[in-house]
Symmetry: C2
DNA sequence: CATCCAGCATCAGCACAGCTTACGAATAAC
DNA sequence: GTTATTCGTAAGCTGTGCTGATGCTGGATG
């Protein structure tokens, strides 16, 4: 009988490439991971890893086992969800991860509704960058998380996660002066200083990619993750920025927003198989209704765009 | 994360009804099983067992979890099979269970072929009564086993096992004198002494059932499992018996065989999900070809029946 | 009704699986 | 050559999970 804990290590190894990375991600020492994987090989009776340089690579048999490990973990997750559904109803902890913008906009209403309808839930919200979300959800630190993928940023499909689309929003160019009419707004910013998110965040990456598609590399002058800060900097004439629709709730005076042909799709993600978990399903439903309520009540900032 | 070892205990509990029986079947003490199931309840966060009288019963949540446990175990078995297929090829131990008749007839040729084509396999055969087979296969003591179900004997479908049909054979009535023409052969034996298999075997049960269907309870005079012995007793005029086609390879002088409208179907069974395991698949294929070779070369004893 | 026994839970004790720390070997980068 | 990674092995320790003993409950028996 293969050990599921070890299969999880193998899956993480497939995703991260090195034993050291797996150990760091799952809060073990590299030694423990190495020993466990050796034991797994012994149980399987087949070589799963092969040394390559100073690292390891998965053998074909290892790759096959990883695929099946995904299945096993998903079915196990489904069992968890089913028993929660059948027995406890809606109670216990539910950890939600959200990026800062969502945590201020669509999340509060959803949390209020969730807490009202299911008082047994112990809701806990963590603000995390979307780039860290997949690992945190797979690792069990989060149960539900809001993530997005942008045009230009490849969304690698994670077989360990399932997700449901929540909303699609346009990106806007924020500038102090209106861009010229008839030209590509991003190209128009070729020589202007840019205000981007911190490196290694999705916000940062999407802006760089968009500029590369337009044929240039942005001159990054400022780094700021908070869109309020970003807009204040733009208003002060310190540069231009790309902001999503949710980030411009109340744009300050002196900021011109131009709708770009770039979108970001926000999704609710959870562990593969956990979609049937009552708390997860309720959370996703609450997020949906919060999004719907927002879209019907708020005027889109596109009214201010050209 | 639910623990698969504990899920296995829960599944066995659902099948056997008492913690003590689970413990005995899996070679644990009842204390260990009780502790593990308590731990499982803690992990699940839901009551899975409830005391009922001096035993326990599964709660609705427990039943739900059992169903999913079957899935988990089957998927895990499939993972095992896949990695064996991808990596080791055909090597390692393969434990085969067979009832005595098959062990003498269709099994030897299959084993020879299997050993010839896959010398890496360490074949091991155990002779077991079909009634004990499901537990032994589920418990991992056997990998493949030959089982049969008879007309009249309910074959309860075991969700932990998969099976493939191998052959269907007729049952024969063995008697010293030919039965009257035109009457039900079994009914004709109403007042004759019967020779049956040992109690608690399928052979015993099917004969009793067949007689009950004919409207009487057989007077059991002798017990013998070996069909050679049974036929010798019949030839000596000590009673009548029901024997399957495979059991009458070379009937002694003085035995009259009468084909009955009762059949038994022989199947190859293995753990759910293990059908993709190369050694299991090869074994089943070898059994099939052995059966096919037998059927084409041997004249059916029906030639001697009336 | 008193007794007996089957079945389960709890407790204490112990063994082993599995983790950490420490160290060494191999390889890539500089 | 030197250094930094990365992995594997050895030694030691801790916690999980097993056994065996004990007590409790509820059905069976006379």
């Amino acid at each position: 009988m293969l050990d599921v804990r070890k299969l999880r290590l193998l899956r993480e190894l497939a995703r991260r490439g090195t034993i050291a990375a797996v150990a760091e991600a799952l809060a073990y020492t590299a030694s423990a991971v190495s020993q466990q994987l050796s034991a797994l090989e012994r149980e399987a009776g087949v070589a799963l890893l092969a040394r390559s340089g100073r690292g390891v690579v998965l053998t074909p048999a290892g790759l096959v086992l990883v695929e099946h490990a995904e299945d096993v973990l998903a079915v196990l997750e489904r069992a968890s969800a089913a028993v929660a559904e059948a027995g406890g109803g809606l109670a216990g902890p539910l950890r939600i991860g959200a990026f800062p913008t969502a945590a201020r906009t669509i999340l509060p209403a959803a949390l209020v509704e969730l807490a009202r309808r299911h008082p047994g839930l112990e809701l806990r919200v963590d603000e995390v960058d979307p780039a860290e979300v997949p690992d945190a959800v797979r690792g069990g630190e989060l149960d539900v998380a809001l993530v997005h993928d942008y045009d230009f940023v490849p969304q690698q499909r994670d077989p360990g996660l399932d997700s449901e689309p929540l909303l699609t929003e346009a990106m806007f160019l924020a500038s102090a002066r209106p861009p010229e009419v008839g030209v590509d707004p991003i190209g128009w910013c070729r020589d202007l200083p840019w205000i981007l998110g911190r490196p290694d965040t999705l916000c940062h990456l999407v802006a760089v990619r968009a500029c590369q598609v337009a044929g240039f590399t942005p001159r990054v002058r400022h780094h700021a993750d908070d869109f309020g800060t970003v807009l204040a900097l733009v208003a002060a004439g310190l540069g231009v920025a790309m902001v999503p629709e949710l980030g411009v709730g109340d744009p300050p005076e002196g900021v011109v927003l131009t709708r770009l042909p770039v979108h970001r799709r926000t999704q609710a993600a959870y562990r593969a198989g956990a979609g049937g978990h009552p708390a997860v399903a309720a959370c996703v439903a609450a997020l949906r209704s919060s999004v719907a309520a927002r879209q019907s009540s708020h005027a889109s900032p596109s009214a201010r765009s050209r």
